[in-house]
């Protein structure tokens, strides 16, 4: 690959930067595949020590893409957002699969059980994550920015500063919105919990 030729990922990130939300859909398979390969690799016994934390996965992916000239440094803030979003997708995927497995208890060979261990993905945790995912969708409808902050910080492991940079807002606003989003999600998840405890029918 020529060092100067912009890659597909760069072009898509540029589109995203110009406000083309569909670029995210096109980016997902490109970055997601790499992300999954990395997760699989780090779980398959070649751990550079600690690659299972989302931050490290995201950073590692970034560095790899940079190393292959598929990205430029200026794309970084967008990349963090995209990667966090993909991370969320990957995790929720696993959670849903686990729940599905519970219903039809057939062990899929090599189906990322260690990945689930890393996630601390017990049955109740899987349910919790799916509930969080749903709540996050509802939060996004009311305040897209708050939902993005949660994605970046919780699923992407980004710091306050990185989140601020990725979203083009001040760290102070990130902290404020994070507190609000967190409280909203907790309130929502608690309500779901209470509803579930009430006898039905």
């Amino acid at each position: 690959m020529a060092a100067s030729a912009p890659s597909e990922i760069t072009l898509l990130l540029n589109r995203l930067q110009e406000g083309d939300a569909r670029a995210l859909t096109d980016l997902a398979p490109l970055i997601g595949a790499e992300l999954r390969r990395m997760a699989a690799r780090s779980l398959a016994g070649q751990p550079p020590g600690h690659t299972w934390q989302p931050t490290d996965l995201v950073h590692e992916l970034w560095v790899r893409l940079l190393g292959r000239n598929e990205l430029r440094f200026e794309n970084r803030s967008h990349f963090l957002g995209v990667a966090a979003h993909l991370m969320r997708g990957m995790v929720i995927d696993h959670a849903r699969r686990r729940c599905a497995r519970k219903r039809t208890p057939v062990e899929v060979p090599g189906a990322g059980n260690e990945f689930e261990t890393l996630l601390g993905l017990t049955d109740s945790r899987a349910a919790e994550l799916i509930a969080l995912d749903d709540a996050l969708d509802r939060l996004a409808a009311a305040s897209p920015r708050q939902s993005q902050i949660v994605e970046l910080r919780y699923f992407g492991g980004s710091s306050v500063e990185e989140t601020a940079e990725a979203l083009g807002i001040s760290p102070k606003t990130v902290k404020r919105d994070w507190a609000i989003a967190r409280a909203r999600l907790h309130a929502e998840l608690n309500r779901i919990g209470h509803d579930a405890e009430q006898p039905r029918g």
Binding site: A44, H59, V63, S159, A183, H186, A187
Partner: protein
């Protein structure tokens, strides 16, 4: 939506208030709007009672409980005394070896969650076995390893009495000699580990222990090898930057990409050296991504130079910080040795410059008397003055050479790209490096004869060697001329104006065009002999009298019907007698 954003801002204003203050604030903000107040109260309640779900990033491993092993005895031998420290992968305890009269030892356990990962345990075991095979005085010794009854791997290592290099660095700037010694010993230790297949992966001042610090018996002990290192405290929100500052700055680019090698340890060692000498790290990044970008952009010698590090030493250190692993030294031992040597012997012939300055200040007007007095102070010719080497691939200017014309150079890596071995001289016109000779050296050279040996190739234009001693009838010029067709030819010019005239000698084709050339004049002789690759090529070269500068031995490049000039030099030596 309106309600939401209003509730948001009231909530954001209230979270940092407590008790009655918060109640007053809510009353004043919400007034009679019961719905708003209820929304805010609900958010505040959710804020105050955390479910733990969002309190740390997903995947963060559960914190390891502190001190679960004290008082227990492992292998009926090691009595765990107390908790020492905890990292991301392991916990460290102080213990006593009851079979060795209660000798203190350190026991390191993999974290309990590691039990779930067969591959992790396997890897830990593999590295411990390898590390146990490393026997080097500067590598902390592995005394034993095993597994607890419930399957947790542990490692028993020597207890090192001393201080960390980090603590010593904080005290005061480290003298260059001491820094050089520490770097050398650390490099040797890392090389010893590499020889058994163990990478350190985390060379940093915290992991370099000094026994008997500051004394003449100071000794380096390298600790914390491999996978069970202590550097990765589990991450919490908002602490990434701090932890980043603690460990990642010492990581090589390929390590950031997840592929550490022995060259990554060399890189880490160079970061330590840089920090030891300047007090700061080469790359001021705040995240791994930023670090990677900075590593790719490279670091300049300025900071090192400002802290009194010679150009040559700075060059060697920066070489080990190369972005590409293959551009660094070939072994940790060699890299450390090069750094230490360059630090310990920065400029061998400082007096050359002082003498030149003296001469300049005396000036022509001062007359012969001043000149005589000056020459009288000349040191007599010792064995050291009979051989002048240009140490390669280092900066000629740092070894008593002076620049001639317009000249620059670049280091050239060896064939398998594991290190540097030569200098490429480049110029857009003409230039090179020369060494002045003392009058005693000139006299000895005329009496005993002299010889210039150089391994080189001309890549573009001409690569030349020149010797023009005061009191001789001519200067001797040796040109290796690059041609488009092949390795070129040797020209021994007899005149350069109005046009270049001289003897042209063909060169046998050779891959890379590298040859060993020798130009020499016998005792009390005035004509030169030429050898190429050990074969006697020519005798009776009388030299030329155009453009005399009375310079000592010189090597350089000149554009000759070309836009630029370039040549590679592997060796350059001037010998008297």
């Amino acid at each position: 939506m309106m309600q939401n954003s209003r509730a948001d801002s009231v909530f954001a204003g209230a979270i940092h208030l407590s008790g009655p203050e918060r109640a007053r604030f809510l009353t004043s903000e919400c007034g009679t709007d019961e719905a708003l107040r209820a929304s805010v109260e609900r958010l505040l309640a959710a804020h105050d009672c955390s479910t733990g779900l969002l309190d740390r990033p997903l995947f963060t491993l559960p914190p390891e409980p502190e001190d679960v092993w004290s008082g227990r005895v492992l292998h009926s031998r090691y009595r765990i005394e107390r908790f020492l420290a905890r990292g991301g992968m392991s916990t460290v305890y102080l213990a006593r070896d009851e079979q060795l009269a209660g000798k203190p030892v350190v026991v390191k356990f993999l974290h309990s969650w590691a039990r779930q990962f067969a591959w992790l345990k396997e890897k830990f075991r593999g590295e411990m076995e390898a590390l146990a095979r490393v026997h080097h005085p500067a590598v902390v010794a592995v005394l034993d390893f095993g597994e607890t009854a419930d399957g947790l791997p542990f490692l028993v290592i020597e207890y090192v009495e001393g201080v960390t290099l980090r603590a010593e660095m904080a005290e005061s700037p480290m003298p260059i000699g001491r820094a050089a010694r520490i770097i050398r010993e650390t490099g040797r230790a890392a090389a010893a580990a590499h020889a058994t297949g163990v990478l350190h992966r985390d060379l940093k001042p915290e992991n370099i222990m000094l026994e008997r610090p500051g004394t003449s018996e100071e000794r380096v002990r390298l600790i914390d090898f491999g996978i069970a290192r202590m550097d990765e405290p589990s991450r919490e929100f908002n602490t990434r930057m701090t932890q980043f500052a603690g460990t990642t700055p010492y990581m090589a680019p390929e390590q950031l990409r997840g592929k550490p090698s022995a060259a990554s340890d060399i890189y880490g060692l160079a970061v330590v050296a840089y920090e030891l000498l300047t007090g700061v790290r080469p790359f001021p990044a705040t995240s791994p991504v930023e670090l990677y970008e900075q590593q790719r952009a490279g670091v300049k010698a300025e900071t090192l130079r400002r802290h009194g590090v010679s150009e040559a030493a700075a060059r060697v250190i920066l070489k080990q910080l190369s972005f590409r692993a293959e551009d660094r030294g070939s072994t940790a031992n060699e890299a450390a040795e090069l750094i230490a040597e360059a630090l310990l012997h920065p400029v061998r012939l400082v007096w050359t410059r002082r003498r030149v300055m003296t001469a300049a200040a005396t000036g022509v007007a001062a007359g012969a008397a001043g000149g005589v007095a000056w020459w009288m102070r000349e040191p007599p010719l010792g064995p050291h003055d009979r051989v002048i080497d240009m140490p390669l691939p280092s900066e000629p200017l740092e070894h008593g050479f002076q620049a001639t014309g317009e000249i620059d150079n670049r280091v050239v890596s060896n064939a398998d790209h594991t290190g540097f071995e030569a200098l490429r001289l480049i110029s857009d016109s003409q230039g090179g490096y020369h060494r002045r000779l003392t009058r005693a050296q000139v006299a000895a050279a005329q009496r005993l004869g002299w010889r210039i040996t150089f391994d080189a190739t001309a890549e573009e234009g001409i690569l030349y060697v020149n010797l023009d001693m005061p009191g001789t009838p001519a200067r001797y010029l040796f040109n290796v001329v690059a041609t488009a067709e092949g390795p070129g030819f040797v020209r021994l010019p007899t005149a350069v104006v109005p046009k270049s005239l001289g003897v042209d000698l063909p060169l046998t084709p050779k891959p890379g065009g590298r040859h060993r050339y020798v130009l020499g004049v016998g005792p009390r002789a005035t004509t030169a002999e030429v050898w190429v690759d050990g074969i006697h090529y020519y005798s009776g070269y009388k030299g030329l009298t155009d453009f005399r500068y009375r310079r000592g031995p010189e090597i350089g490049v000149a554009a000759y019907g070309t836009k630029h000039a370039a040549g590679v030099v592997w060796k350059f030596r001037f010998e008297i007698g």
